[in-house]
Symmetry: C2
Subunit: 229 residues, 2 copies
C-alpha cells in the first residue's frame, strides 16, 4: 500500500522505515526537501541529519508535503503537533480527501520551557482539530502515547500493554488496527476509545508520560489498563 509519512523527525523516520520493511511504498513529506537534505547537524535530540538517515533508506522518497500526500493512499501525520495543521494545509485537503489520516502527533508547546504546555488541552484535541479542518479525511488518533521505538516494536516494553485508537470512521479504525497488528501489537492490546473526541483523553496522557520518562530515564514503558478484560 502507498503511505505518505508527513514529517522528517525521528517519529517520521521510524514509521517510514517500519512501513518500508513491511513492503509498503513509502514517501516522506516535508516542507522543502532541499532544505531538509541540506541540514548537516544533528537535531536537538541528537538524531543524525535526515540526509544521513535517507542514505541508509534509499527506497523512501522525499517529496514536498503536497506531492507526498497526493502519492499516499493513507497519510501519517508525524509533524510536530503545534505545526501539524500548517503541514496538513500544505498537503492540501484534496490530497487527504477520503483517505485514512493517522495522527500520531502531540500538540506540545515547548516554547515556554519545561514542562511543555499541552494545547488545546481538555475541551478539544489536535485529533479533532484535524478532523474538523479536513472533514473528508478519515482521521484516526493512535500511537501518540508511546515513544516511536515502541510504536514499531511494542515488545521493547515487557508484559501486556495497550495502544488506543480514536476516530469517527470505523473502517479507518479497522485499517489502523490491522496496521498496528502488523507492527507487532497484539490485536487484544488495541483499545478503541470511540469517536475522535476521545483523542482528548489520549493526548492528555502526555504530561504524565513526560514525567515518567524523566523519572525512569528511558522510554521503553507504556500504559496498561489492568482490569480491562
Amino acid at each position: 500500500m502507498r503511505y505518505a509519512v508527513l514529517g522528517t523527525g525521528i517519529v517520521g523516520r521510524t514509521l517510514a522505515a517500519k512501513l518500508g520493511s513491511l513492503d509498503h511504498d513509502v514517501v516522506i513529506g516535508t516542507r522543502d526537501p532541499e532544505a531538509t537534505l541540506a541540514r548537516s547537524e544533528p537535531d536537538a535530540m541528537g538524531n543524525e541529519p535526515f540526509a544521513a538517515w535517507h542514505a541508509a533508506h534509499p527506497a523512501v522518497q522525499l517529496e514536498p508535503f503536497e506531492e507526498a500526500a497526493a502519492h499516499g493512499e493513507a497519510v501519517v501525520n508525524t509533524t510536530s503537533g503545534t505545526a501539524s495543521l500548517d503541514a496538513l494545509n500544505s498537503a492540501g485537503g484534496a490530497n487527504l480527501s477520503g483517505k485514512v489520516l493517522i495522527d500520531v502527533a502531540n500538540p506540545l508547546d515547548f516554547s515556554h520551557g519545561m514542562p511543555p504546555v499541552l494545547n488545546p488541552g481538555n475541551t478539544d484535541s489536535l485529533g479533532e482539530q484535524i478532523q474538523r479542518s479536513f472533514p473528508d479525511s478519515r482521521v484516526v488518533k493512535t500511537l501518540n502515547t508511546v515513544n516511536c521505538a515502541v510504536m514499531v516494536e511494542p515488545g521493547r516494553v515487557p508484559g501486556a500493554h495497550n495502544v488506543f485508537v480514536s476516530g469517527d470512521d470505523s473502517g479507518a479504525k479497522r485499517h489502523v488496527t490491522e496496521l498496528l497488528v502488523s507492527f507487532g501489537w497484539p490485536a487484544g492490546s488495541v483499545i478503541d476509545l470511540g469517536g475522535i473526541e476521545t483523542a482528548r483523553g489520549a493526548e492528555m496522557l502526555l504530561p504524565i508520560w513526560l514525567r515518567l520518562f524523566g523519572l525512569l530515564g528511558h522510554a521503553d514503558f507504556n500504559f496498561h489498563i489492568q482490569g480491562a478484560r
Copy 2:
C-alpha cells in the same frame, strides 16, 4: 491516628470506613451536619442517604468542616473538586497548618454536560491550587486516578497496577505511602511522580479514565505502567 475526612459522598464514606477499620480515629467533615443528616433521598449515583450509612458506622463522627479539620492530625479532601477550595477555606488554614493534607479530588466540572471539563487542566492543577492556598499544609495528591472501591481494596483489579503520589514534602509522601500500603497497595505499586506540580499529569488521567469506565461498564480497572521497573 486522628483523620479528618472532608466530604460525605461515596469517596469520603469509603475512605472513612477503611480508616476506621484500621483503628484510626475518624471524623467526617461537612458544611452543615444537620442538613447532611436530614437528606433522605439517594444521591445522583444511587448511593444511600448519608444518615443511613452513618447509622451503620456509628464510630465515625460528623462535624462541620472546621471542627473536623481541627480534630484531625491529617486531613483527607474528598469533596467535589470544583468545591474543594471553598470547603478547605471553611475548614480554615490554621486547622490545616503543618498537617498532611491528602487530596484525592478531581476538578471535574459536570455543569456543561458530558464529558465533564477538567479544570484547570494543563498549566495548573487542583493539587497545586490547594498547596498555594494553604502553604503551611503538606499536600499530597494521590488516589484520584482510581474508583473509591479500588482505593481501599486494590486487589479488586487483577494483576499489578499503580497509584501515584505528588507533593513537595517528602515526609508527607512517606506518610501517605505507608497509609496506601496499609490499604493493601504493594509498596512497589506506589510511584512518586515528584513535586505537587506533577498532580497535573495525574489529574489529566481522568478524561481517559472516564472514557474507559464507559467502555468497560465497571470501575475495577486501573493504569499500570509497564516497563517502569
